[in-house]
């Protein structure tokens, strides 16, 4: 839960990505494990990198404004640093209740 720790070495961290609702449907699977690539520090940078993987990711993250993120099950923002988070989730704005 030290995702605000700006001094953590993030590059190379192994993280679990989780996808929910239409993000999951567009990506085609619910979770996967990746290593955070060099140069990726914030949530926004991770999304930009994911979009470069292939057309499926590019389409899923086409409009990052309508995608919300959680780091270790806590709401995060585009500019939040990934830090030592172990689980990063992407999903649409919530619609429960």
């Amino acid at each position: 839960m030290t995702n605000t720790n700006a001094t953590a070495t993030t590059t190379g961290n192994t993280v679990t990505l989780r996808y929910f609702a239409w993000v999951r449907e567009k990506i085609g699977h619910a979770e996967e494990t990746i290593a955070i690539p060099a140069g990726v520090v914030t949530v926004a940078e991770l999304i930009e990198w994911l979009k470069t993987r292939n057309q499926v990711y590019a389409a899923a993250f086409d409009k990052p404004d309508v995608i919300r993120t959680a780091l270790d099950q806590t709401h995060a923002r585009a500019e939040t640093k990934i830090g030592s988070a172990r689980e990063i989730a992407f999903f649409p704005p919530v619609t429960g209740g």
């Binding site: 609702a21 709401h75 999903f91 649409p92 704005p93 619609t95 429960g96 209740g97």
Partner: protein, 158 residues
Amino acid sequence: MAIRVDTADFDISAEIKSLTQGRTDIGAIVTFTGTVRGKAGDSPITSMTLEHYPGMTEAELAKVEAEALARWPLSASLIVHRIGELHPGDNIVLVITASAHRHAAFEAAEFLMDYLKSRAPFWKKEARPDGTSDWVDARESDSAALNRWQNNAGKPSR
């Protein structure tokens, strides 16, 4: 103070009884029940499927409850949210707040619902009679409802 995510339906009388049994410090109990409506706008729906983020859901609801408890003198509270496939008329969510006084119970229940609607990781998918289905869009009015509470210890104005 309790939270529960469940595929099963809830019984409001039974939930109130288990929250308040043997207690004589409670003077006011407010419940909110959200139910599946038969139409989305003008289009009929046949079912609604609720997906959530296990773990984060419970963490967020616990935060919401703690925040309500810090703001109002609550004697007891409960949040139950159903998941899975539901149908028009079915219960979706239950919030119960109990307090010595009615205004605290009303305000806390409304706060819990506003907060839950904008923060708890649940998503609804609606299925139509023609077999198609779509994820429900978030409503701007829900985050506006939550923002009302940001700078206000008691009940916000409109």
